[in-house]
Amino acid sequence: MIIFDKIDHLLSRSIVEACTAAGLECVNAARNGGVQAELEKLQGPGALVIGPPSFCEATALKSKLYGSDDSLALAQAIEAEVRYFLETCRSATQAMMRHGGGQLLSLGIDDVASKIVGLPQSPIVNQMRSSCIKSLAKEYGRLKISYNSVLCHPSKESVDSKLWRSQRDALKVYTMRFTPSTVQEYAEFCRQLLTSNPPLNGGQICLGKGVMETAA
């Protein structure tokens, strides 16, 4: 069984479709009493997919720095994301330890490409998740639990086609004649990752055309 913490993002929904088409059972925990409740129902090694963050850190930071916003909205949102991710990972780890293994996959959207095409950017949460995943893999890989994160460029469907064309020059930082990948391509890759048991643990896999190395 593959548990999704929520499927409000196009990427998560597409992975559900790809997995369901392959005959896999998928559950949306957000509609069924939460991740913890679904983890309790596992009968053997299962998988948990944590969807991409949707909060735009860049917008909140601008508002904090240059607007009249004197609130703690940005700090509180980051704190809530970190706490949620750690708690969800801990619950999943505990359940998977009981069942002799499992997989945890964290999804994210590349924040530089998102900035270019005007989508929400979450560099703090993306990097926080990646570091957490690497640490968990080092600590619990020996118990046959695998932890990986996938960071995708924005998909073709996530932005209007005119906008992709208008940003052609900016996207040259990735590759000449940048063509965005479809969400189905990303979803299919994730389905294979979840079902093929690859020799990979603690990986941060970047998907997209002309992916660049980031700071860490």
Binding site: E57, A58, L61, K62, K64, L65, L72, L74, A75, I78, E79, V82, R83, F85, L86, E87, C89, R90, T93, Q94, M97, D111, K115, Q121, S122, P123, I124, V125, N126, Q127, M128, R129, S130, S131, C132, I133, K134, S135, L136, A137, K138, E139, Y140, G202, T214, A215, A216
Partner: protein, 254 residues
Amino acid sequence: MSTQEHAKGTVLITGATRGIGRSITLRYAQEGWNLALVYRSNQATADSVAIELDKLGASYVMIKADLINPAACKHVVEQTLEEFQALDVLINNAGSTFDGAFASMKTTDYESLISCNLIAPLLLTTAAAPELIKSAEAGRGGSVVMMSSMAGITGKEGQVPYSTTKGGLIGQTRLLARELGEKGVRVNAIAPGFIRTEMVEILEPKMYQHVLAASATPRMGEPSEVADTAWFLGSSNSTYLNGTVHRIDGGFLR
């Protein structure tokens, strides 16, 4: 507190009285900067640093503050301005850790870690940003240094919450660099590896020999070696560095 009329700039350092922070404090003092030094609770270490600074004839102010409290971050910036009328460099050095088996931890075990390692630097940097922008516009500087960790890059077993927050700090460095870079303020991070501080001196060698063996320079780093980079990143010698992460790890091979 002594005074120095011709300071090269004003630096605000958190966690300034112990370990790496103490070395950074002394490095900037030797370079003739005004120092706003934040410590949380240990009066003895603060007094000890003060004695060293007095010997150097440094210009400094000690600020006791718990940066987990958002109001304290604003207060620290205000006190710095009251004392020195400017702020050119901010070094977010303060941090804490809680180690152990992650699956056995409770949320309350690492709540303060999130606040201290990730949220406080964000609050302090946004509070200091207007002054840092003024500094950049005046051609004096405008630089932020985040103290991350190798654990934030490579991950570390037994340190899941710590490495998570230190990884988030690297993301925060990129976000702030992008935003403040347009205003001339640079934001960079340091990721120290195995550095000789109080935290590691209590460990038995067998607990870290494998780490040293996996390094191209098989010895512990010294706090002063991290301080050199912190000074470089705050100085006018690094004006085209922005959004970078500097590994001070002797060439850790992983």
